[in-house]
Symmetry: C2
Subunit: 238 residues, 2 copies
DNA sequence: TCATACATCCTGTATATACATGTTGTCAAA
DNA sequence: TTTGACAACATGTATATACAGGATGTATGA
């Protein structure tokens, strides 16, 4: 928000989402936009470049930037987004139940992670429901070396809000891996699954701005409630 | 490849993959790189910006660009990449078996796609195996309005190679949706699954450079062979 | 009538410059 | 020994300019 081109990106993205710029229509040209926002064409181009990579528009040389019809209304495993943010932004009726909050070592083998020494972490187990149906069971391991203490209140509310707005940590990127596996008995029971029904597991490692690893997460999804929407651009392999 | 910054991106990406620039080390500074490649700093910055969004590096203000340890060795549902390209790049022992090749209308309801008129397409059904194990069953619908004819030879080899190198089409972007569902009897049999075992279904729509929709694909994955690896950067929701 | 040529839009690429701001090490003063 | 000021160097942001090249409509000429 502090940058010009970021502000312009947000403004354009909002206007596209609110259909001020309708699907299949062209945005104003880069020079027109630069006059509209009172800035240079390069700044506009940085904003448009963001819109391009995020699937809002397609640029066509010699013609202009056309608004795409992206239906991104599902659970975005793609980005790094907290459950609370999603809940607010989609106006869903969701709850979070904290099942466990204690110190544990990170089960490194589950995450295919190599480490010479054991990693001490705060373990948080949370069950997420929308409309009283269990959707996701989250196992979070937050490294004590970065965040020494987590209260029950914070775990019940939003970890990300606590990290970013209270502690001033800047979450930067994450690697994720999605697989389909058999649930444990506890998981099957909590998610109210039939026997022999598989679950979708999303395991992720989250890093800060300075490349410090600080969180491991294992999200266990009900298979019938799991949906993952992605936007991808063509990239050749050599 | 034709662009300077793209060539520089490729060169740096290759050097990172071959550990010429080791993980956790810093790349040369932007000014050093601009001298190395005999270009301006802005051009270098475009290349580095690509590396950043693709998870090769993390830029740290005041310090430099650090090489990340990305393990991207799994099936990238993330990008748009053909099975043959993957097979070649990972040196896997894979085969493709064409089960069906005929004209059909696209089953629009499966793809949640609205259209006033039915879409005529070439339907290709292919079974992909690696090491003689069935991995994926692909149902492709290629619109006749864009590609009138597809030979059996092309279907057995590589559709993407045919589209891009023979027909001169430029594939640009795609939307994908991943869900877990029950297989049809035919799918269960072809993928050699036990009964009551779910499959992972990736449904995608692929578009050309000029935003023309030209392909629907439904990939049915064996759940135990399915793995999806992703890299994501933090982006706040408003 | 039809095709060619041109002007005029558009985006794509490349370079140069300036200043802002974060990181680090040095060196002198307290 | 510690602190603080500062220089050197890193990336981040913003602007300006130039030319290349695709898309499109118009005017000219055969």
């Amino acid at each position: 928000m502090r940058n010009k081109f970021n502000a312009i990106y947000q403004d354009l993205a909002d206007k596209i989402n609110h259909h001020n710029y309708p699907v299949d229509s062209y945005l104003p040209s880069e020079t027109q936009l630069s006059e509209l926002y009172g800035t240079s064409r390069e700044t506009i181009r940085k904003a448009l470049s963001e819109l391009l990579t995020n699937g809002f528009i397609q640029k066509i040389r010699g013609k202009g930037s056309i608004v795409l019809n992206l239906q991104r209304f599902n659970f975005p495993v793609s980005g790094i987004t907290s459950f609370k943010e999603l809940n607010n932004s989609l106006h869903m009726n969701s709850t979070t139940e904290v099942l466990c909050l204690e110190d544990q070592h990170v089960p490194l083998e589950k995450f295919d992670y190599q480490s010479s020494s054991p990693l001490l972490a705060t373990y948080v187990e949370r069950l997420r429901k929308t409309n009283n149906e269990p959707i996701v069971l989250d196992h979070d391991y937050i490294l004590k070396s970065v965040v020494p203490e987590i209260s029950h209140k914070v775990a019940a509310d939003s970890l990300y809000d606590y990290f970013e707005n209270q502690l001033g940590l800047t979450i930067s990127y994450a690697t994720k891996k999605i697989t389909v596996e058999s649930p444990t008995k506890e998981e099957a029971q909590l998610l109210e699954l039939n026997e022999h029904q598989d679950v979708v597991i999303v395991r992720s490692q989250t890093y800060l701005e300075d490349t410090t690893l600080f969180q491991f997460t294992e999200s266990v999804h009900r298979p019938d409630k799991f949906s993952f929407v992605d936007f991808a651009r063509r990239q050749k392999i050599n």
